[in-house]
């Protein structure tokens, strides 16, 4: 018996050890992860972002080197603090505070001492950095904007948020990502693919070599340069014209669907969202809920389009055969379309399609619309036929362009009215406001511009897009796919001739540009706001759509100026100037240009909103602070009707 004690002890003890080891190595699997956290450091190699050029190859957005001054507190030795502080233009107190902060983080690991110095700030320091043991620098690449416009088109670069990190495994905390504009929609093209290197760490968190000889490492793939369809000069001019106004301009090349200009006002200098002031400035822009500089009005401002919609009413009437070019309706400053219902009009006398358009006669188009709806026994069917025609212009839904924001707009159909009138009983007279772009119809400026491009093309359009060329790859084939409308080509001719005479005989008299045949249409959107609980009518929004030249159109354009008054007051002149700028590259109508450049609606915005700070727009110097600062008003747009 006594012989057995030691052998049995040995066997029991060995079993105990084996069980415990089995638990550690095989059953409990948390140690693998702990070990990786412990011992493996992942380093990313971020490729430079692709450059952005305009349609003619002019460089708009490049990159600049920026330098973070890093410090490892433990390695600091004999620093000449005075010289150091002078070189970096910081105070000694600052220096002491920053070092203390770095020490708290870790005496052994690098901390950012001073982030994002630009080249000139860094140059003097760089020569002497060797004197300051414990300091070194880290180069980063930031956006460098060659122009001070186009912020809404470019978007900006920001740190990726946690939600996206959870969703997209590519991104890690601290990574940069494009937000808004083409930086967002072409993020994966511009950014390239970051390289990954795995390092073996030691217990002090120092790298001691590559992990598994780089077996899992990958090489960074450079970001691609892109060309936009943008005409930089036109864009710049558009933004200048919109100074001291709020609104949007969208210009499209009808032949291709290429966006030539996409202006929103107020805007800001894109370079204020780069570098050390980024977050302060972004907060200012973001918080400005009234002027909304981050809100792209060209893409998002959804309004009843008003008179420009009459173009579609007319075309559909012709297509459905309920009227022809010669059909006339009498107008007595309006007309009674139902018992007790009267639609006002500024016109008088007989109107056919031609003068109906250039005079923008409500009576004419209301009658055309009623005939269209009354063509079929059931108004539900008729309105669906009508709706289908309208939607064939790319309206009532997202257009599919390559910018990350948008609004559907609204084109009603029978379902809409089933919802509004669940018991039925609605007829053509109930919905007659649609004929003149009111009622349930909503459109954004880019949809208006696309509508004009379609008219210019006499019946087809290409999905508007901002990308012209991606180095190395083709652009999305959907942008070269022709969309045919349901309207026959022959019906566009009379419409275009009416639009042409808007300048000669109609609502845009005096806005023409000698030598350029422009076709256009004014629009005016009433709008109201709730101020101190009361519904107050605000100054009308000024709307204008146009294309030119009449034969072989090269540009289609839509302009919205908030509270700009009549369509021909501000929006009309801007259209003329933009068209001339694009076609001639210079301005002959300097009278018009001067008038618009000097025109400020600031007082009007201030008055309308009852705001406190009226002189904030456009007063700050470039690059230092936000260009258009906060203006406090009540939200201006509450309810809209159109009258023209």
């Amino acid at each position: 018996m006594r012989k057995l004690l030691l052998p049995s002890l040995i066997i029991v003890a060995a079993l105990l050890l084996v069980i415990r080891i089995f638990y550690l190595q095989v059953i409990n699997d948390t140690f693998k992860l702990k070990s990786e956290n412990n011992a493996i450091k992942i380093k990313y190699d971020y490729p430079e972002r692709g450059y952005i050029y305009d349609r003619y190859g002019k460089l708009l957005v490049a990159n600049q080197a920026s330098y973070d001054i890093m410090v490892i507190p433990r390695e600091l030795k004999n620093i000449d603090t005075l010289e150091f502080c002078q070189l970096l233009k910081i105070t000694k107190e600052d220096f002491i505070k920053k070092i203390a902060k770095a020490k708290v983080y870790s005496p052994r690991l690098p901390s950012v001492f001073l982030p994002q110095l630009n080249k000139s700030e860094f140059a003097a320091f760089q020569e002497k950095i060797r004197k300051f043991e414990g300091f070194y620098f880290q180069k980063r690449s930031l956006r460098d904007y060659e122009v001070d416009f186009g912020a809404n088109i470019f978007g900006f670069i920001t740190q990726v948020n946690d939600k996206l990190i959870a969703k997209n495994p590519y991104y890690n905390s601290g990574d940069l990502i494009g937000k808004q504009g083409v930086e967002e929609s072409y993020e994966s093209v511009l950014r390239g693919i970051k390289g990954v290197k795995y390092f073996q760490k030691d217990k002090y968190n120092r790298e001691i070599g590559s992990y598994k000889d780089g077996k899992y490492d990958t090489i960074a793939v450079q970001g691609e340069d892109i060309n936009l369809t943008l005409d930089a000069e036109l864009q710049k001019y558009g933004e200048q014209l919109m100074i001291n106004k709020r609104g949007g301009i969208v210009a499209i090349e009808p032949r291709t669907g290429e966006i030539l200009a996409l202006v929103t006002a107020p805007s800001y200098d894109p370079s204020i969202l780069v570098g050390r002031q980024r977050s302060t400035n972004y907060t200012l822009l973001y918080r400005d809920s009234i002027a909304k500089p981050l809100y792209d009005r060209g893409l998002l401002a959804e309004y009843p389009p008003g008179s420009p919609f009459k173009i579609l009413t007319g075309l559909i009437g012709l297509q459905e055969g309920v009227v022809d070019e010669q059909t006339t309706f009498m107008c007595h400053h309006g007309f009674s379309y139902a018992r007790g219902r009267f639609m006002k009009c500024h016109g008088f006398g007989p109107h056919n399609l031609h003068n109906g358009i250039y005079n923008s006669c409500n009576t004419y188009f209301a009658n055309v619309y009623m005939r269209t709806i009354n063509k079929y026994a059931k108004p539900a069917y008729a309105v669906d036929v009508w709706s289908k025609h309208v939607k064939s212009f790319g309206l009532g839904d997202f257009m599919g362009y390559d910018l990350p924001t948008g609004k559907r707009g609204n084109i009603p159909d029978s379902k809409t009215y089933k919802k509004i009138y669940p018991n039925g009983g609605w007829r053509s007279t109930t919905i007659v406001s649609n004929s003149i772009g009111q009622g349930e119809v909503l459109m954004t400026p880019i949809q208006l511009a696309n509508m004009m491009a379609t008219v210019a093309n006499e019946g087809y359009y290409y999905t508007p897009h901002i990308i012209k060329k991606i180095k190395g790859t083709n652009i999305d084939p959907k942008f070269t796919e022709k969309h045919q409308t349901t309207i026959d080509k022959k019906f566009f001719k009379p419409m275009i001739s009416g639009l042409f005479d808007v300048y000669n005989l109609g609502t845009a008299r005096g806005l023409g540009v000698p030598g350029i045949d422009i076709c256009g249409k004014t629009g005016t959107a009433e709008n109201f706001a709730k101020i101190n609980g009361k519904r107050v009518k605000l100054e009308d929004h000024s709307i204008f759509v146009a294309f030119a030249p009449k034969d072989n159109p090269k540009i289609a354009i839509a302009i919205l100026v908030e509270n700009g008054g009549y369509g021909n007051a501000i929006a009309g002149p801007i259209a003329s100037l933009m068209i001339e700028k694009y076609l001639r590259k210079k301005i002959t109508r300097t009278d018009l240009e001067k008038k618009i450049l000097e025109r400020s609606l600031r007082d009007r915005y201030a008055k309308l909103g009852g705001m406190k700070d009226a002189n904030a727009i456009e007063t700050s110097p470039k690059k230092d602070t936000v260009k258009s600062k906060v203006i406090e008003t009540a939200p201006p747009v509450a309810n809209l009707t159109i009258e023209n």
Binding site: L6, L17, V18, K32, S35, A39, K203, I208
Partner: protein
Amino acid sequence: MKNQSIKKNLDWTCVIIYSVLVIMGWLNIYSSSLSSTEGTYEKQLIFILLTIPLIFIILAIDGKFYEKYASIIFGVALLSLVGLFLFGKTIAGQRCWYAIGSFTIQPSEFAKAATSLALAKYLSDSQINLKDVNRQIQALAIVFLPVMLILPQPDPGSALIYSVFIIVLYREGLPAWYVWTGFTTILLFVLTLVLEPQYVILIALLVIVLIHIKSRIADRNIVLSSILFVVISVFVLSVNYVFENVFKQHHRDRFNILLGKTVDLKGIGYNTNQSEIAIGSGGWIGKGFLEGTQTKGGFVPEQHTDYIFTTVGEEWGFAGSLAVIALFVGLFLRVIYLAERQKTIFSRVYGYCVAGILFTHFFVNIAMVIGIFPTIGVPLPFFSYGGSGLWGFTILLFIFLKMDANKVNEW
């Protein structure tokens, strides 16, 4: 002629297991010290190569030599331990090395073999009966003499090893209650730290009453049972006092970490946590030789010495750990088997001591590394870095193998 008989009679099973363990040990030391610049694995290679002449010398010396001079060897060992108080070199707070040039020697590593020889010599004297209390005291004195010299160095790890002599003495006739008392003491100590003292006392009472009832009526002794209960109660109550007042803070910490009462992964719990991570991340087959990330990063402190088993666990996984444990167990059982077939009491007792000492090192070391024993400085035989340790264990084992090879001649 003599050499040939050694070659024939030497137990090659032990020699092969020994060689495999030494080589595996060196490979792991190589891996764990590769990232440091100390030249650890080169030194260990020299130590290993030096064991070859050492083994030849041991095998060449006459088999009777060890028995004849056991007392003198023991005396020299004790003197060398005493000498530490005068000439010893202090490393990391422990005064247990002699420094000769750049090399250091740790006499306690050799004292184990000397004590084993002395104990074997004492028990091999005729007419020794361990039922005799005087004999018990004398035998235990041989064990306690070196312990008394080692404890104040302080080197509790080495001292702990000597407890295994109780089991050797038990094999030779020491009454069983010594062993039971030993186990019960350890059990009560641990239970008291885990549970509250009153619960431990309650459990002890229940067990004693149960034993009392179950035993035959003739064996029942109410006085003895009561005394036992009182002694246990006093011991349990004193455990907390000893723990709080006699133990040093770092001892308390080590127990608290082990029992999960304290969690401090960056401070006092760092060693155990890191060694568990290293071993735990090994999985079934490990990360491969020289591929251990924890080993490369140097996260486990003292990895090439007391924590060398973490490298085995990380780079060779469960398979490697199992193999190492199997080799050790094979060696222990083989040595015990050989000891039991010895013709003389002297070599049998010595063989038992060899198995016991190696086993205690093995168990305490690995148990500590995998977090089921408090942190204590005990090397893993043949594996851990260090010349004294390797030579001490080699001498210990090969003296026995020489005796075993010689047993034929003794007739």
